[in-house]
Subunit: 341 residues, 3 copies
């Protein structure tokens, strides 16, 4: 008997529903404050209640997971709330590659892997005095976009940075990261790489809803110009998008390049779900500004299957179910070590 475990947030519902549909036991590591929410869902077999997610490092919780032959599915909350060292020290087998999560969290390593994968990245701007066109200013880690801002020049950068510091949104010491702003159609490309089949699957794409930048679109310019508030990029939700079919070949190529680069520089490579995040410009050229080396919350829009997976599977297949299917297959053929770390 195998169990699937994950932290209670991000895409836990999708992951555990998929696991249950595949006949696996489901375990949720759940903050006490969220217990009421997750008790609503009957497909969650067992709750491990904690006050903070870092408690899963404790022996007693690790033991429960071990007794259940649990595989832990990592997601954005794991990365946001635990350090790379903590994640790497988890004894429970982690689906995919736990070592690559450090490459997602650290801006310098992230850029290195993206260059290695030949992903077209926005030009970094090393110093605020070098800002000569629209830039986006980001923070370290998977902060969900809160505190990100746009700036047109150094003066603008300083003004907005100080405004955000005075509001307590960013801290004075924080190293900010400046990129040329890539404008166009946002697309978050969701993949699954199966080391069992040695095949890459394109699952789907989504767009993020970020607040309050999204609200700008509905405020007439006349009113916008009277307002000095710095718009932010706090992710609130996701919506579906399908891509022009002529873009799919390059989508797959980018995914494969990422899988291959990961194999070379962070063994055993990019196994399981991941996401390449970027924007299509007016020439339909893609620029990638981020990747996620694990399931993304954007897959939640396809809780009952995605358009692209309906091409590959003759049944409704969410990303959570795909993960569970992979674990079942690996278990059945004694290859769990191939898909976990």
């Amino acid at each position: 008997m195998t169990a699937i475990a994950t932290l209670g947030s991000h895409c836990a519902l999708q992951v555990l529903k998929g696991a249950k549909d595949e006949g696996l036991k489901t375990i949720l590591v759940c903050e006490r404050k969220r217990e009421r929410l997750y008790r609503r869902f009957s497909f969650i077999d067992e709750l491990i209640l904690v006050d903070s997610f870092t408690e899963i490092l404790e022996q007693k919780h690790q033991s429960i997971l071990e007794q259940n032959n649990a595989v832990l599915i990592p997601h954005g909350t794991l990365i946001a709330q635990m350090s790379s060292e903590q994640i790497e020290s988890i004894k429970t087998p982690i689906f995919g590659n736990k070592w690559i999560l450090r490459w997602e969290s650290d801006r310098t390593m992230k850029e290195k892997l993206m260059r290695e994968a030949r992903l077209p990245v926005p030009k970094p701007v090393l110093h605020s005095k070098d800002i000569d066109k629209l830039v986006i200013v980001k923070r370290q880690g998977a902060a969900g976009g809160k505190g990100y801002f746009l700036a047109a020049n150094q003066e603008d950068y300083n003004k907005k940075r100080e405004q955000l510091i005075s509001q307590g949104i960013i801290s004075k010491e924080e190293t900010l990261y400046i990129q040329e702003y890539a404008a166009g159609v946002l697309a978050y490309l969701q993949f699954f790489y199966s080391p069992l089949k040695e095949e890459l699957e394109f699952f789907g794409a989504d767009q993020r809803h970020e607040s309050d930048i999204e609200g700008l679109a509905r405020i007439p310019s006349e009113q916008q110009l009277k307002n000095t508030k710095v718009p932010s990029f706090n992710v609130i939700g996701n919506s579906p998008i399908v891509l022009r079919e002529s873009l799919l070949d390059e989508v797959y190529t980018m995914g494969e390049n990422f899988v291959e680069a990961s194999k070379r520089i962070v063994s055993p490579g990019m196994n399981g779900p991941f996401c390449i995040e970027g924007v299509y410009d007016e020439n339909a050229k893609f620029t990638s500004f981020e990747f996620s080396a694990r399931i993304v919350a954007g897959t939640n829009i396809y809780m009952d299957g995605s358009p692209y997976y309906s091409l590959l599977f003759n049944e409704p297949m969410s990303m959570g179910k795909r993960i569970a299917r992979e674990i079942k297959t690996a278990k059945g053929t004694n290859q769990l070590d191939k898909i976990t770390t």
Copy 2:
């Protein structure tokens, strides 16, 4: 034998398709001018043709509904086209709570119920001279957003109001309702409360497409500034959105607070589908500017099931089907009086 009846507009197709899928008889109260549209759908068993929806108050139509043991599903068109008194005088059992529809239609009662439910509401602005930041100006009732406008100050308010009056869009006598404008990511939260199970279900969320405010987003500022037209908020359609999972706990809490407040002040409470409508700001804090105390048209995007309902049901489940399921269950256990008024 039970029948489901509804007015031909808003979400009638979804409601009656769901009823047919549950094996119930379906009756549409249909304006003659729309007969051709609705005859296209074979799941509609019977049409009651009228020139105006208020005719359903007439004895002959009430009799047909009575003979069929019909339950009437109320929606936005019922509220838009009939007064609260008329709705309350309908003899046919109405699904949910017909008394609460008055609280939706009347701005003052609406605000009272929202405060009672501890929903965070935008600050009302009592007089146009008090406008000191961006506000939205609304009309009474469920007008679908037509004639709503934004204003930055009293001068702006007067200019736009007069422009809309001169265009015949609003009338001189009409009382307008001014709220501080909440900017960010719009989310219309769709719920179903079952008094049979005494459980609240979160069905899904949608975003509204409103004209012509949505078109603004595609007009460069340079051109916007040359244009004096007042953008409007006429609802044209809806699109799906899923929320960051960490927001769900608060979503359920808001829904439960609304259900409990309704139980206290408008018996028998908020039974069946309802919607809390608002916006997430840059801190992911929700502000609610409206509620609908019945099924909303935004559920039409999930005609074959929503992402969140696929967590609760192991079959495709639309809101229309959910309603029919509740009626069937109530009928089978002799509890129809518990879910109708």
Copy 3:
């Protein structure tokens, strides 16, 4: 045995998956550079490899299609890459009406058919000196929106046209086509007309994501005004939308008017899938700026069925599957000539 063939782009995956689900043989005319992409999908039975799509005019390829009793499904790529004469000379039976594709490609014929169908069209502006409100400037043919631009007056028109010429995006000789810009909620209305059932079906609606005009919405006015770049309208993808139910009657009427007008002026009429493309203004009045006389890529969002088709079919039904279903029915009743040209 009947086969379905199509060109490898646009909506080929949806079309062939639908055909396979209906038990038909599937053939893809595939550019060699895209072979790797399409080999990933096991529902494609046979690939005809070409260097350029015009090769399907060659006898050897026509023979293969003939031997397989293939019906060719036309889509946007066929129109974009071949002339009307070339398309009309194809020997393989083409689903729908190949003669109407010329009416889609040619602006003058297109307008004529739209007027004949009584579609409300935006006012054409015959000369750039006549621009007195916001206009959109378009190119001939199905260019996917690249090189389209907005202009507020003649000076603006000249400036932007010259900028695009100097960037090599449009050519100096190219005839541009100027229309009054219709602002509001974009909606691409997808239909299927069955000459076998003599019935029009409304399949669904979508919105297009165009770059980089879509990106404007996320750039504050202050920054937009500092930027001189001309936004473009290159289609990147599509998202789902459902319409207010009170709009559906007019949607069907527009579709039927289009079908009838097509019957009158371009025999055998508008059979199979088509799309009426336009925008709803603040009075919910629709203005149509284009039509597509064949399947549109926006149907790809409904790869596993659309909300509106779930009202008509008790099974997941994509547009690709609907086409295959029609061909199977025609074949089984010896009416293939009724649905192909």
